[in-house]
Symmetry: C2
Subunit: 553 residues, 2 copies
């Protein structure tokens, strides 16, 4: 199930790009001047896949034979270099740098493509018996080093691609439960559910290139979380293979019997074993979806409106507030239009100046519910100074929502990097975190004599707080982009943590976020998790080094 | 902080009872005849507190001195027999039997009343250093053996009463976060919050006699969970003393960084350490509360309506559906009224026969929101055959909602037991579990030549399923009520588990539910939890034997 139509060294499907249209050059010029770059047009090419040399596999013939023998339902094992390269990393900015330069941090010694939960268990047992590290791999879209083929203990690595174990295994309509194979990709799940009148309603930006198992393992969150919750809220039960045996958690709504172990599986990032099946709470496909844009004079006013809308408990599926910088960026990236310029000039005179911030509100359900919730949200927005822009600007964003990540590769071709970082905080910390991250980025790049654009939006909100998502655009140091990135990442993460932000609201921990996760978890929490790990996977075979550091020795 | 105004051997405050009024005798007669009892009027007295003999404390002078020295902020340590008796157990039916007979399963060797988180930690360290078992104790309202002063390893026991560590430590109004001392009782918390315009909205039936720490440790759920969630949903952060050190979890809304350890602390039942502070998400005190009753021709139709109301995502705070047996019981327990009889006769002819089931719907918020949500819920109810009964019958139930548990002691005086058991299931299992539990009770008591009344209600509902709460009324075997109860409990729990029900939706596990919890958690889940325990409390000092069995040896 290697997808040769997926880019080996970038985001998404071959041939697809974010369409900048006829104003492409003008946009790049604008970006270059904002970043004070000398030559934004110069190409920064990638090495060719065939030019990457891999070390020999460290798994001997007997090992490969055992792995092959474990594959009794149609799976396959391969040491093909292309397959090993495609499974070496995820799709973080650093991963794109390293692919582009042909400098892999490691690679699997074999890739196993499984097609059933029985094959997952059988392959797992071979790995355990032979001391092979086992890295579960869904869509490979991790942006935190969550699927990187490295083992701190330097054992041979088997990467297990689960996409051949796909599909709805059972749909219990009376309960609204779908039992789904862990390797099911987002579109395959939604298409199959939609055909029967159901929907999960989980749309992370990686939707097209991520799997159900990956969503749960990394505690993913989708664009419609306001109505349907984050993935952990949708899990009614799960089934795993672990080195300590097969495990089916309790399946149902809320239980008061002991700690909620489904909340432990969610976020375990493959370190406790391999998820094979997830029972998801699904809902009837909504009849209507509407998205609406509202402009606020400032980000602070927009944040106040967002909080009030969430507190009112309105049935909105989607809520997003861009800050002034991001609002301006979206205006710039859209097709130029002199009416737009004129409109903005008029808005400026009405008090909607450079900090004007756009909010997108999505509502779905029966038409009358949609009308009512939208009207009520707009009423609250108005009380906070919001001006309704109607559906036009919002529907453009919504149409392109899975295209945005493609821009990253396009700009990288010109030596411009897009880094993303997100956190969650109580409401009172939104402003301190945002200011502090902006400053940290500016200072870090100033030390290199470079400039950056830092924009932010609030993408998932709760009564208890919100997620702040940062997008940082900066000129790449083509000599050593990884060394350039590292202090930038650290400065951003430190700034967010200093004000109480978690290291991740929905990207996960992986390798990249580990030091900050250790810090926010505290020594007792870390000990607790290491206790779980020791109980199920004492040899650290499962996704070694991800989430938690390995103990010394 | 021993509350001498609380009953030592029963539920609640001295002198308070459930008011059966002038039809008391008639009601008891009716109950006696339903249960085919010979002499329901005969008194079954309790032993006197002073007649209970306790063994000498096993903590020597040095130990008591160390405990005393740990109490630096006003706490106290005592071996007073009354205090030891009052802290020997919780308030389950079996606890009431054992208090009444003066047959305690054990008692603390000392009771420590702490007044600060520093005292919690200092006492904890003395227990760890001296190998004393440590049982955290809030209101003592556990109905599952969660605070029982027993240690499977037979070490001396210190019970730590936390009620002297009480009050709101910090109220962060911008975030709606209240940092609350673990020993704060429900009414003290709500009164303090209400005075500042806030509310938590957590009203378990034990509200008056349970603490914030106890709520979180046992994964409690309140009557208004539909709007504000279960206690685990309200926890933004918590702080514990553990034998491995002090621990502050991350504090904020949702995090995607690793397993959610707040969901592990919730439900840990004191086995990982002692909760000292909880950061709770609170909300503005609602302006209006309204409660409404709707009658359905059958429990199945009522269940359909309940599911549809939950799926519609209406902002209702409270939803409860009684089955036919419970609806009839509440009619019987209310004051007799010939209009009521006439009304019921008329309803019978309209198709509301013996299975007629009453639903209570509570709504709170701004008056117009309350109006709208109530109207919408009534519209859905009507589509499912519901008939609105207005606010009258519902407000009576709501007024008495914290009084119902008092009836248990009153009936016990007459040799009639009220046992409760609750579970949660996906919607499709409601009927199988209810039928199966009814049958299990009838068969178990038939073997003794006795009859029972089994009634049920659905008290907490989610898109993924609902909580079924059973109330079983039966004639006590006064010779050995505990031996009589045990097979009954087992039969009920087995029947619920057979159809996928959890052993508890909100009462917890303690000692009584342990075998079923072990079964539903599975060997891998159990190993995981024992791994956590081994990491934080390898000597099983903290609430030993609760939740999880001790390993052999």
């Amino acid at each position: 199930m290697t997808r040769k139509d997926w880019k080996w060294n970038g985001w998404g499907t071959e041939g697809v790009r974010y369409d900048l249209g006829s104003h492409r050059e003008a946009f790049l010029q604008w970006l270059g001047s904002r970043l004070e770059m000398d030559a934004p047009g110069t190409r920064w090419p990638s090495v060719a896949l065939g030019d990457i040399l891999l070390p020999e596999t460290r798994i001997d013939g007997g090992g490969l034979q055992d792995l092959g023998a474990a594959l009794t339902t149609g799976g396959s094992v391969t040491t093909d270099p292309e397959d090993r390269i495609r499974h070496a990393m995820g799709r973080s900015l650093v991963d794109l740098f390293r692919y582009r330069l042909g400098r892999l941090p490691g690679s699997p010694d074999a890739v196993v493509h499984v097609t059933s939960r029985e094959e997952v268990a059988a392959v797992g047992r071979v790995c355990a018996a032979r001391g092979l590290a086992l890295v579960p791999f869904g869509g490979g879209s991790s942006v935190v080093g969550g699927v990187e083929a490295v083992d701190p203990r330097n054992r041979p690595i088997v990467t297990m691609n689960l996409r051949g174990w796909s599909g709805i295994q059972d749909l219990r309509e009376e309960d609204g439960y779908a039992v789904v194979a862990a390797g099911t990709l987002g579109p395959d799940l939604e298409t199959a559910l939609n055909a029967r009148g159901w929907s999960l309603g989980h749309f992370p930006q990686s939707f097209e290139f991520s799997t159900v198992g990956g969503w749960v393992a990394s505690r993913s969150s989708g664009q419609q979380s306001n109505q349907y919750g984050d993935i952990a809220d949708m899990v009614a039960g799960c089934r795993l293979w672990t080195p300590a045996g097969d495990w089916q958690t309790w399946e149902g709504p809320v239980s008061g019997a002991g700690p909620d172990l489904r909340e432990v599986v969610a976020g375990s990032e493959g370190t406790l074993g391999v998820l094979t099946d997830v029972t998801l709470q699904v809902h009837r496909l909504p009849k209507t979806f509407r998205i609406q844009a509202v402009l606020f004079p400032s980000f602070v006013e927009g944040t106040g409106a967002l909080k009030a809308i969430v507190e009112a408990g309105l049935r909105l599926s989607f809520l997003r507030l861009s800050d002034g910088e991001e609002t301006a960026f979206y205006l710039k990236i859209g097709h130029p239009n002199r009416w737009k310029d004129l409109g903005m000039a008029v808005l400026g005179r009405l008090g909607f100046g450079p900090d004007r911030s756009v909010m997108l509100l999505g509502t779905e359900g029966d038409p009358e519910e949609v009308d009512r919730a939208t009207a009520e949200a707009l009423r609250i927005a108005k009380r906070h100074g919001g001006l309704s822009l109607g559906q036009g600007p919002a529907s453009g964003w919504h149409r392109d929502r899975f295209r945005h990540p493609y821009l990253r590769d396009d700009l990288l071709d010109h030596g411009i990097a897009i880094e993303t970082h997100e956190t969650a905080v109580p409401w009172s910390r939104v402003d301190p975190v945002r200011q502090s991250v902006r400053q940290a980025v500016a200072e870090t790049l100033a030390r290199q004599g470079r400039r950056a654009i830092v924009m932010a939006h609030l993408s998932h909100s709760y009564p208890a707080g919100t997620c702040i998502y940062f997008i940082v655009i900066y000129p790449v140091d083509r000599e050593d982009p990884v060394a350039q990135w590292r202090p930038l990442k650290a400065a951003i993460a430190d700034a967010a943590a200093r004000h109480g932000g978690t290291i991740s609201h929905h990207h996960g921990v992986g390798l990249d976020h580990r030091p900050w996760w250790v810090q926010e978890t505290g020594p007792v929490g870390l000990r607790l998790i290491q206790g779980m790990k020791a109980a199920l996977d004492p040899d650290h075979l499962c996704n070694p080094g991800k989430l938690m550091p390995l103990p010394e020795g």
